[in-house]
């Protein structure tokens, strides 16, 4: 039983104790998230370069963005990436989860196999896909054998972007499949049974029972994958090369940040302005998904 003096000592210490417990987390957040964020925001209003501190230039960087063709190419490609990848990553992992949900012998092997790309290094994955899609790669060899002829997956700007999207979807399937598996486990079996009794077929049951039951998970997957897709870098960089594809036409916004702001002659201020745009669009995407979800609910 606590004495009066112990209680008063604890009370005196209370205001600081929670802060002390939170201090490590706060410090890490401050140093690696808050400080870089604020620093990027401040830099976006300066003409700072890698080795030159720079001066305040107001909105000059943002005005320059409006006239920079490469910025618009990056914005177009990042947006297309969201539009191409997100629907696939909402639907395909759900179908995959339905496939591997059933507890039949050997299903663990398939679950693991579908999850393997998630843990594979993106660089290794990228190299494998480059090898597959090269003009003289396996895919083109097969296409040539069946009489279709070679297709320039890595030399045509649109095919390159589509190929990168395919890699993103392939690599993300397993991750979102696991999320859906957890959600599907919570769907009452009785609902499916009742629908079946009422004469609903597999497709009808999927649309009327499964989809509504995992709708909130689909929103989550949509939000996560849209943010990741808008910030895509590795897949496009590995397939299209550092120049961002033919004439830079496959450059994404994050690639543009990397190309503009790094190196000894990097334009840190300008790259920061692009980063701020990426941040704003990312937040807008999240809000859009959440708003769509609320509207659906109401």
């Amino acid at each position: 039983m606590a004495t009066t003096s112990t209680v008063s000592r604890v009370r005196r210490q209370l205001p600081t104790s929670p802060w002390l417990f939170a201090a490590p987390g706060l410090l890490i957040t401050g140093a690696f998230i808050l400080y870089p964020f604020v620093s990027t925001l401040i830099n976006s209003f300066t003409d700072r370069r890698t080795l030159v501190p720079g001066e305040f230039v107001g909105l000059a960087n943002f005005r320059e963005l409006l006239h920079d063709d490469m910025f618009w190419i990056g914005l177009r490609n990042s947006t297309l990436y969201v539009l191409g990848v997100v629907p696939a990553l909402i639907l395909l992992p759900l179908l995959l989860a339905l496939l591997v949900q059933k507890a039949i012998p050997g299903i663990t092997f398939f679950r693991s196999a579908f999850y393997t790309p998630v843990v594979a290094s993106i660089v290794v994955v990228g190299l494998i896909w480059v090898w597959l899609l090269d003009d003289r790669g396996l895919v083109n060899a097969v296409l040539e054998t069946v009489g279709v002829g070679r297709i320039g997956f890595l030399s045509d700007q649109w095919l390159l972007l589509l190929s990168a999207m395919a890699v993103t979807v392939w690599k993300g399937l397993g991750y979102y499949m696991i999320i859906y598996l957890a959600a599907l486990g919570n769907v009452p079996r009785e609902l499916h049974e009742a629908a079946a009794v009422d004469g609903a077929g597999a497709i009808r049951r999927f649309v009327s029972v499964t989809v509504p039951a995992v709708r909130s998970t689909m929103v989550l997957v949509g939000a996560l994958s849209s943010v990741a897709a808008f910030k895509v870098f590795s897949e496009v960089y590995l397939l299209a090369g550092p120049s961002g594809g033919p004439a830079g036409e496959d450059t994404t916004l994050v690639m543009l940040v990397q190309r503009t702001g790094t190196g000894l002659t990097g334009r840190v201020g300008y790259a920061s302005a692009i980063s701020v745009v990426v941040f704003v669009v990312t937040v807008a995407l999240m809000l859009l998904v959440l708003r769509a979800d609320r509207r659906e609910e109401s």
């Binding site: 400080y35 080795l51 000894l264 990097g266 334009r267």
Partner: protein, 430 residues
Amino acid sequence: MPTSRRTFAAVAVAALLMPITACGSGGDGGGSADASGKVEGEITFQTWNLRANFKDYFEDVIAAFEEKYPDTHVKWVDQPAEGYADKISADAAGGTLPDVVNVSPDLVAPLAKAGLALDLDKAAAKYEKEYLPGAWASHQVPGMEGTYAFPWYLNTGPLFYNKSLFEKAGLDPNKPPKTYGELFDQALQMAEKTDGKVATLANVPTIEDFGRYGVPLMNKEGTAFTFNDAQGVELLAKYKKLYDAKALDPQALTATPESSGKKFLTGAVAMNPGSALDLANFKKQAPSLYKNIGITDQITSTGHVNMYVMGVMVNAQTKRTPAAVAFAHFVTDSARQMSFAQRVAIFPSTAGSLDKPYFTQEDGTDETRVRVAAAKSLKSAVNYTPVLFSEQMKTALRNEVAKALQGKESPKEALDNAVNACNRLLQQQG
């Protein structure tokens, strides 16, 4: 004793702001340009992806230096090739640049402008005569007085070609192209005979190619690029013809030196520039190609082949200027460079070294043939890449060249746009 709320807040804010104060730009000075003092103290030496293959060599060099100057200690760090410029940028911005740094001329220029590279014309002028004049000048920056790195090893290389592909295309494998005209004609014939399946070249023209073609790259003052003249347009128009005929590989627009090297290894392209280092690679990875390998000189319209120069820079902020300058000179002196060249296919930049029998006498093998030819051409070779030509400029040129090859812009429009973009970047660099 309980901490007061104010004290805690002050500590938290101080801790939060600590990284901010640590991230100032550049060092706070304190370095001296005077290298005449006693050679002593600990210095750090950074190399560019050399530890994996040359650990013993560098440990021997460091041991020899420390023996010569017993009061010194050299700490050697090696950085991977990937992201080397970014690592130097981070160190330079954070004030942690090593005392002695392995650099290339394009890395030296921004460091010199930021006051981070020691001017050797002031601190080590006495050593200038030990190096080839062209090599010493390679680390001078237009618009600035001074020389900002010791020249280290040089490299150049021949043009390799696949004799069996030449033969299949009806070309004489013993008569490779010697001029640009021959190169373009033979490339078109190769594409025609193989129905576009074998390209002759795998890379779009770079700034070096424009230089070798005889295009003036910059004005004399180093204040503006000039590669959009009639000769530059002519070269790009010829490449456009090659691209349309598939004599230039369709994936050339996104190619890297590594990817084009692989294409040559697999017989997808018939010619590729390289160096003496590549011969061992061919022998190991593509023995059938090695049996059919043809070696010819780099094609140039100027009479001067292209060379790559490595340098060793002294950090202008170093607290150990005498030791840093002495070590940078020690690593790049004639004896050390000769010893390094005997371990790997590079060439010394020191005066007279290329006249030694190792670089002038063949023993009948391809290796010595390539080495002797390269050493001979290096005596008049030129580093065509302007030191002010940054990575961003390379990308701008590459993208405009790609637009011309795709027919989205005329060669003239593309080069005008590239020059404008590069000039804009040059102005922004200050």
